[in-house]
Symmetry: D2
Subunit: 342 residues, 4 copies
């Protein structure tokens, strides 16, 4: 299978490259970059010296579609919806890492982002969270790869919402992300001196991932869910931890919660439930596609803690997982790495 990465030099593009470099059943057939068109990938990232890779080229949808069966669009939102229709039209299947096709509701998208230029695709796009939508992903032409925060929040809540165990109005998600989530663009706020040795909240109640999370939680619970969502920025590159507070509807023992989580995910290759007494840390998933989940319970107050690598399960790894599903390959192909630790 021939695979292209559109937007290959951003951090999610680079991470796709890292993962796909180890994939035995695909060929990287095209790499696009507007900034570096004409250069070798190793010119931008010397860590890729000695690897044979196609030269970087500008993104011309027809040309890329002609070269690739699957295209990963690792582009900013708005940019993605401009090129995805043409890629589909010319026959590629697309896994889009932007926010442009994640919403079922055009209205919600337009309230939080901007006018949508390809709204007819919203209904056809499949939300690429394999643990919830595997069957649809398999057949999809267009997969909307989930946001990092939504992945880390929706996965641990899913089993409990499906079982109707949670008071919906009680959900609070206090999330913390490494700074690679802000991408590679040169912003003062992402400078080493502005991020190192400091910590802050940002976008409390205003982050664009909030409606995405709420749309998914609502689908899971069958009711309209509103949450309180507070993202924070960690002084580290990779890794995301969400501390999720929710009240149980009725009393339960810790073992009940453990069972619900274990059962829901028991066949999932990339979700690991920690045993009671153990809580995950982000280093345990660094560079991997795992979502690690632990919990604590005090009376009816449940605290769920989930860890992902925001660039892997939160972006490029999940995208490759989706590709494996779409191509009928074993889902863990190229994704079975152990964490880089320390």
């Amino acid at each position: 299978m021939r695979v292209a990465i559109a937007g290959a030099t951003g951090y999610t593009g680079l991470e796709l490259m890292r993962i796909l470099s180890a994939h035995p059943h695909i060929t990287i057939s095209a790499l696009t970059s507007e900034t570096y068109a004409g250069r070798e990938f190793a010119h931008v990232y010397p860590g890729y010296l000695k690897r044979e890779l196609p030269r970087l080229e500008p993104l011309v949808p027809e040309k890329i579609a002609a070269k690739a069966d699957i295209v990963f669009t690792a582009l900013p939102h708005k940019e993605a919806m401009r090129v995805v229709p043409a890629l589909l039209k010319h026959g590629s299947r697309v896994i889009d890492l932007s926010a442009d096709f994640r919403f079922k509701s055009q209205k919600t998208y337009e309230r939080w982002y901007q006018e949508h230029s390809a709204p007819s695709l919203l209904g056809r796009a499949v939300y690429g969270l394999p643990e919830l939508y595997r069957a649809a992903i398999k057949k999809a032409k267009l997969v909307a790869n989930p946001g990092c925060y939504p992945t880390s929040i929706v996965l641990p809540l899913a089993p409990l919402l499906r079982k109707n165990m949670i008071t919906l109005s009680s959900i609070i998600a206090d999330s913390k992300s490494g700074v690679s989530g802000a991408g590679r663009s040169a912003k003062t706020a992402s400078l080493f001196c502005e991020v190192s040795e400091t910590f802050k909240a940002y976008g409390v109640f205003e982050h664009r991932h909030q409606p995405e999370i709420e749309e998914q939680l609502s689908a899971l619970s069958g009711s309209q869910v509103k949450i309180a969502f507070s993202p924070h920025l960690l002084p580290m590159s990779r890794g995301m931890l969400s501390t999720i507070y929710a009240r149980l509807k009725t009393n339960a023992r810790p073992q009940d919660i453990q069972d619900v989580l274990d059962n829901f995910f028991k066949k999932e290759p990339f979700v690991r439930i920690h045993p009671q007494g153990s809580l995950p840390h982000t280093a345990g998933v660094r560079g991997t596609n795992f979502c690690d989940i632990g919990f604590r319970l005090q009376d009816k107050q449940l605290v769920l803690i989930s860890c992902i690598d925001n660039l892997v399960k939160g972006a490029s790894g999940q995208a490759v997982q989706n590709m494996n599903i779409m191509l009928g390959m074993p889902e863990t192909t190229a994704l079975d790495m152990a964490p880089l630790y320390p």
Copy 2:
């Protein structure tokens, strides 16, 4: 005034030294360390070369009390309650940075720590949070310097609890601390490789600062308060941020909250309320004695965000603030530094 630091080579002892070095009205008359007794302080911390300081000596309470009007005990809990009675008996006033004298309730202390060997002092010790107990601190012989988490959580909640604005059962404190809070002892969990580029929760619902917070919040509100408290460890040395969730009893506008906070702290030199739309980061208080507070409100869901330097307002800076009050000096003496940033 002659001042001694018992436990001078731990991080809170060192931080007392940093701050007191700039204090114009005191003399550092004794420094104790069991490990380094007999050595120069600059042997342990070469950053203090060229400063004239007393040599490190073992902690013999009578000897230290004879040399010092005020003794800071920067010792592990249990160790503190062993020496504080003797220091007091020999005439020193004591500011204790351990947990040993922070509780009014001996029972609570003993449930979370261990048997108390000097319970009669619990009633006489004053909880050293100047914004709440300034008058009592002024006259105290023994000040129990607050824990870092309690300082960061009690201060922002105090105005709202005093006004009875909060549903008491709704309080959740999601706190994040730099690793210097774990002290300078050689533990695997505090190694650079175990802390850098990772993030985790620890001690959820089990942290020893929880009863201390609850005792203070209960005193403020006049009722028994139970909170959900989740501490986390940040990959950085200094700084603490608490994200505190609480539900208002009745609807309020953001400006109402702003007014309550502004009014409560308007004469306080070390508490700064951010204007609406602005949230604090820990770098803004690095190396300073400030507690910076911001908030967001969505319907009745309030989010308070507070930042302190855990070693300053969370420990040694607050201790010096208490000393200034006890000695009748201007409260900001030696504490008026600007943040070290970047």
Copy 3:
């Protein structure tokens, strides 16, 4: 005395603010910023909330000169030489933190930077390294504050060059700097993700500080000195360490070297020579104006190790030291802080 900071929101401007905030004998009378003109300083840096400071304004030399006896120009090179002549003409004394007035040789400046628009000032400017040029600084109208690398390399070599102990062709300076030296401008290379957990050399044999170092070493030795200079970028914000290799002309004992260093700097408040067996680390000078120096000797091969905080002794602290000298105040005023550690 009234003091202005031109370029107050860059990192050296901010650091001037931090230091001058504690200065008892000056008033900050003007702050300039083109980007933030009209805003409060605390709007850009909330760590300065609750301090009374002049509002940020655009840099109009006549207006600034009218408000300030001393102006610190914390501007990019080229920008500095554009405004300094006017500031001087309108009566301010100037301490310039750029490279524009550091060279005696216009030719050298123009080879490494660009055409000089105020070459007549090169002869009048005094190189602001107090340990070498204190008397001239006292009377100077224009002080050219040294570069950070030159400060860290010239100071440890000075005593040995003055004594003619070193084979001049043997000098190698392997220097390592924190990333704050790159300033606050939004560059991809300074992003957290590009700097954290990595290390690199840059500008080997091509760095613009090389001719500045060579001009100073030549002046000290009385001969033309050429060095090999390799700067490196550290994954940290502040701190600079230079490892300097030089061959002695004749055999010497370690104690001989110790004596030469001790004697040369014995009255200097900001240079500390480590005792034999001890080598400095940058944390020992963090936030301070010290230059700490240690050494090792193996046969004739000498290794000198010097540490400074690149933003303090390497920039703004040295600038304030120069100001104190120019104003006849005690040289350590506002500069006697202990290191922030950890």
Copy 4:
């Protein structure tokens, strides 16, 4: 093939586990740890949940040898020489990651380390630097895996020493290492607060890797080589960069140096020579087995810059490379990963 890791829970043991987890042709048949004997590996490192691994057991050489064709001994020096003879005697081939078998000269070993308890093996052990000793490694029963500093210094110098291009007395190696090189033992000096945001030299002229480097450089050049070696500690976990200064015997053009390096390493899968004008950074090799090399030349002064991941090419990756050679497998098996960046 059955493979055992003795000392599986230290950082080099853990890194062996990470790499071997992806190896298609071996089975991990035993893991030893004295501290955690009886526990699951995932109990110590939850990042290994969901992997089937043998339980940790104490190191009994006969038992381990019975279970494994190859044993990696990732033990402290002194400990290694105690168990390696027994492992060999019971039929395992051994790749030892300690210093115990790296020296041909017992005298040198004993001067820098301690008495050797198995000196007869020194002559039989092969120094495991494949780029120099591949043929001997293939047949070896005991491979002494090189130190991290030696790997980073010997590789770039080898081509030039073989060609006799360097003035031997001129070699200076200024090396910088991430802190994982200090291992996982709980030492104050390795605490996050002691390492983060600081930089220092240590062991200048006294580091135990110096005689190892000198023995290898002497073998390459055919003369006794003495170098000046200054190791430094970086505020990061992984990565090592050596800046190596050497004087050419005769004038040369940069292209000449480039050709010598390119030719020497052209068939080597794990050494990458940067093109002129480009210098490596450690992030380009993070998590990989590459040694990246760049250089600058000014007159006869050559500066070589090499980067490795100290835990991979500097330890466990090189050990697996040696294993692949010993077992006749493709040398890059399980080692062809792309760098984790950012």
